[in-house]
């Protein structure tokens, strides 16, 4: 059996598709095709961070909290989504599917390795970075996917404005990284 796996892994086409990395351009083209397909299928472009807000709300509800009075969740659509629960949430399936898709890609390339957190600096960076991203995405109405990628593709000026400020933030972040997190 082991021989079979070895044989497949050495196959030229297997190497091309599953073992070797794709070029950035290949990725760009494939992502674009998928993004357009998703838009055509669902009527909405790709978004990632909106789902995180819902996850937060469901988690909060689990601990006895309530978001009913919050402006952000006040629309009937938002309420309906929350009431339907996480297992009926398409955005959740997309995000979790993404995680599994990446996992699958690494396994088929035999490149999976669990990487532990190395230092306190990484903890601080992850916590701070996560909070900033979560909060910032709500403010801007989306993340690098929903507000940037989908925003620009949707011919919205907001996408470009967001991009400009992302660049500013990335610049500041790079300086912080070099100074504190290396």
């Amino acid at each position: 059996m082991k021989q079979l796996w070895e044989k497949i892994s050495k196959n030229r086409y297997y190497q091309m598709v599953f073992k070797n990395p794709f070029t950035y351009i290949t990725g760009a083209v494939l992502l674009s095709i998928m993004q357009i397909a998703l838009f055509a299928y669902s009527g909405n472009p790709w978004g990632v961070s909106g789902t995180f807000a819902n996850w937060g709300a469901w988690l909060y509800q689990l601990f006895g909290g309530s978001v009913e009075k919050w402006f952000y969740f006040s629309s009937s659509g938002a309420q309906a989504t929350l009431d339907a629960g996480i297992l009926s949430h398409t955005g959740t399936m997309l995000n979790v599917g993404l995680i599994f898709g990446a996992l699958l890609a690494t396994l088929l390339a035999s490149q999976f390795k669990f990487k532990k957190i190395k230092s306190l600096r990484q903890v601080v960076a992850a916590v701070l970075g996560g909070l900033l991203m979560g909060y910032g995405a709500r403010l801007a109405g989306g993340c690098n996917i929903g507000a940037l990628f989908s925003g620009v593709a949707s011919l919205s000026l907001s996408g470009w404005v967001f991009a400009a400020f992302l660049l500013v933030g990335a610049f500041i972040g790079s300086k912080l990284l070099a100074k504190f997190f290396m």
């Binding site: 990395p21 690494t106 035999s110 490149q111 999976f112 390795k113 990487k115 532990k116 957190i117 190395k118 990484q122 960076a125 990284l177 070099a178 997190f181 290396m182």
Partner: protein, 73 residues
Amino acid sequence: MAEFELDCLGEACPVPLMKTEKKLASLAAGDVLVVHIDHSCAMKNVPEWARKQGYNVEVEEVDDGEWDVIIEK
């Protein structure tokens, strides 16, 4: 022709590249730097950067999800 090692296992993007850049600046022409990485991004962006600088680069997969990037200045 000295050989140096740089352990970047467990480092987050873009730390392996930043450390490699720094280390390589202190090396002399002809020296070799072996960078140990386990980050999939780094296995692409470190060799790409090194090649653009004009160095010889080889990438070896030493284990599942671990690579040695061998750079000759």
